[in-house]
């Protein structure tokens, strides 16, 4: 695998101010994505996966949020603290992003072809005619049927799946090195989801992009990811190759999450729900944030365990005193 990561997030901590006090929504998160690789960030509501993406894009709301510490390194350059004017060139240029709901990012009163053309004009030096030709090429590239005829159509004339394809075309406009995809198929029906996932996988290899794929759906993770980082209450609690994660879920939360999914491919018997709830951001426990819900809890869990490699697999790391240990390594 290519050793130089396309994107490295190093010890990122992002905080929000609630009632006058700062609380970490993402805490000490580190990962790297290489070219031609898909890293999935998976977790339930409020685990910090989307805030991680917003932090990378420099889109943390300034009114009540801030990146407290850490670096976001793209091609050797730290994006944290970059002036907004430069960050605007990075967004939609080297890093592109697609969201769950394309309608929030598409302008409803402009034809879709024109919107892609504008992206190209902003980020490249293409002449209008060239930009138009390239925009059309992109629309056919994301497999919009009769792209030429639909070039002048407005977003509302497209179905949800087709809108997401338009967003993908726009994201690809400037040959991004990184594609951040935040729940891009969550609002779609499963047959359409399968089409969009296939398209993303294809384009990733074709463009040699690194993809950071954010989702709550472990089924989607199994379909698209090369590596997986599982988040819980702002922490990465496990990271492994996709095969290792599903074959040997090591953190008790990952394991519990997998056994609470009703599966279509087999009769799973009784589901085992996880008791309790994620602690609120304003009252996170000192130690392991999963301890309150964990059947394996021991006294040591009152202090935060480190994310450490398993004894027999250096690429598989977990944050658990019981399952991964780490005391000796500290």
């Amino acid at each position: 695998m290519n050793s130089a990561p396309a994107l490295a997030v190093e010890a990122l901590t992002t905080e929000f101010r609630i009632e006058g006090r700062w609380h970490a929504a993402v805490r000490d998160v580190s990962f790297a994505v290489t070219r031609n690789e898909t890293l999935a960030l998976v977790g339930e509501s409020g685990c910090g996966k989307s805030i991680t993406a917003l932090s990378i894009m420099g889109l943390v709301p300034k009114a009540n949020g801030r990146i407290k510490s850490g670096r976001v390194v793209l091609d050797g350059r730290d994006l944290v603290g970059l002036p907004e004017a430069q960050m605007e060139k990075v967004r939609g240029g080297a890093i592109a992003m697609i969201f769950q709901e394309p309608m929030t990012s598409l302008n409803p009163v402009l034809p879709v072809g024109f919107q892609i053309q504008e992206t190209l004009r902003y980020h490249t030096s293409l002449a209008p005619a060239q930009a138009r030709a390239r925009a059309l090429e992109l629309l056919s590239h994301v497999k919009i049927p009769s792209a030429a005829r639909r070039f002048g159509d407005y977003p509302h004339q497209f179905s949800g799946g087709m809108r997401q394809r338009v967003m993908i075309a726009m994201a690809l406009a400037c040959n991004p090195r990184i594609l951040l995809a935040d729940e891009p198929t969550t609002a779609l029906d499963v047959t359409i989801q399968a089409q969009v996932l296939a398209l993303l996988a294809e384009l990733k290899s074709e463009y040699g992009m690194a993809m950071l794929f954010i989702t709550h759906n472990l089924g989607v993770v199994a379909s698209i990811a090369d590596r997986v980082a599982v988040m819980y209450a702002g922490d990465i609690i496990e990271m492994a190759s996709v095969d290792a994660l599903f074959a040997r879920p090591t953190h008790p939360y990952t394991e519990a999450l997998l056994s609470s999914i009703p599966r279509v491919d087999r009769h799973a018997g009784d589901l085992k729900p996880i008791a309790g709830q994620v602690p609120p951001i304003t009252s996170m426990p000192q130690g392991c944030r999963y301890a309150d819900r964990c059947p394996l809890r021991v006294a040591q869990c009152a202090t935060m365990p480190p994310l450490v490699a398993l004894a027999d697999d250096a690429t598989h790391r977990a944050r658990c005193w019981v399952r991964a240990g780490g005391a000796a390594l500290q």
């Binding site: 989801q193 399968a194 089409q195 089924g219 989607v220 997998l258 009703p262 491919d265 589901l271």
Partner: protein, 327 residues
């Protein structure tokens, strides 16, 4: 024994206006000839993608919308001919749970008041009895006893869904229409709610019409399932069979596209081409033929008849001709 619910040839069309200033009128065939039976205490699943008519079917059963034609028999009693008084009595016995309980809970009323309302409407008991019943139902769905004095915004999504279920249970129904009851919830919470529903079903012998787009959830919860596409049931039968050996090409596609948490079972990327046609202008013949890998000339011409391939299994597809009459 009489079936709990019998739905026969249900048809529902909506007139819509489209085009500039709504100048054009068109008809959406939301339900065409939908028939199924739910036995006492059975969980019956209705699955399909957006716009297939599954929610319309759920609402038509309860007469929250009026069907154009067809019959709905609840314990043998015709729901669609019932007058206002009979309907009110029938509705005590059939209740609905929605996807988003927040929109069905009055934000300005305490949970206790909202849950007690149906009992007051039906004149069932004194204030003291109603309060006791509300507490009992809240306990049954796993809510703390002080929940009755709180307001909806004080609860998480999973707790609100428990309250939505409690509201449906207050009148001791025999049938619950559950419309995507766990779709808005995180998986760990979803599992809690499914376990709760399963417990209620077993304890109270509740029947369910369980509407969902998630095949995994349906496989887990339901015994029988009907797959819908553009307003029609295309396949129906017992749950493991339908998902393990789907007959209809659409069921097969839906099954293949449903993600499974196992990288060895990656969603096969040779996926279904095209998108669902508009319900305003469903394709001639079998509605699925433009996307179907097995489409034959006959599929473009005539809608396939319903074929009972086994005692408890049927499909509407030209690939499965009706068995010849025994000679």
């Amino acid at each position: 024994m009489t079936a709990l619910l019998e739905v026969r040839n249900l048809v529902k069309t909506f007139a819509v206006r489209r085009g500039f200033m709504g100048g054009d009128r068109a008809t959406v065939h939301a339900l065409s000839d939908v028939s199924f039976t739910v036995e006492q205490g059975e969980a019956f699943g209705l699955v399909g993608e957006s716009g297939c008519g599954k929610s319309t079917a759920g609402r038509a059963i309860l007469r929250l919308i009026e069907a154009d034609s067809g019959r709905v028999l609840f314990n043998g009693e015709n729901v669609h001919d019932a007058d206002a008084r009979q309907l009110r009595r029938l509705r005590r016995r059939m209740q609905i749970v929605f996807q988003d309980p927040y929109s069905s809970l009055n934000p300005r009323r305490t949970i206790g008041r909202t849950l007690g309302e149906p009992m007051r409407v039906h004149g069932l008991g004194s204030p003291r009895e109603i309060a006791a019943r509300v507490r009992a139902v809240l306990a049954e769905v796993g809510m703390p006893s002080d929940a009755a004095d709180k307001y909806p915004h004080e609860f998480s999504g999973g707790q609100r869904q428990r309250i939505g279920i409690a509201r449906a249970l207050v009148l001791e129904p025999e049938l619950i229409v559950a419309d995507e009851p766990v779709s808005a919830l995180d998986v760990s919470i979803q599992a809690q709610i499914l376990v709760l529903l399963r417990g209620l079903q077993e304890r109270r012998r509740l029947g369910f019409v369980f509407i969902s787009h998630d095949l995994g959830v349906v496989r887990h919860f339901c015994r029988t399932v009907a797959v819908m596409y553009l307003g029609r049931i295309v396949e129906q039968g017992r749950v493991p069979q339908i998902f393990d050996e789907p007959l209809h090409p659409y069921t097969r596609a839906l099954r293949a596209a449903s993600p499974v948490p196992d990288p060895k079972a990656r969603v096969i990327m040779t996926r279904l081409e095209g998108e669902v046609a508009s319900a305003l202008a469903p394709p001639r013949g079998c509605h699925f033929h433009p996307r179907c890998p097995h489409a034959m000339p006959v599929c473009r011409e005539t809608y396939p008849p319903w074929v009972q391939v086994a005692a408890d299994r049927g499909v509407a597809c030209h690939l499965y001709p009706a068995p010849a009459a025994p000679t």
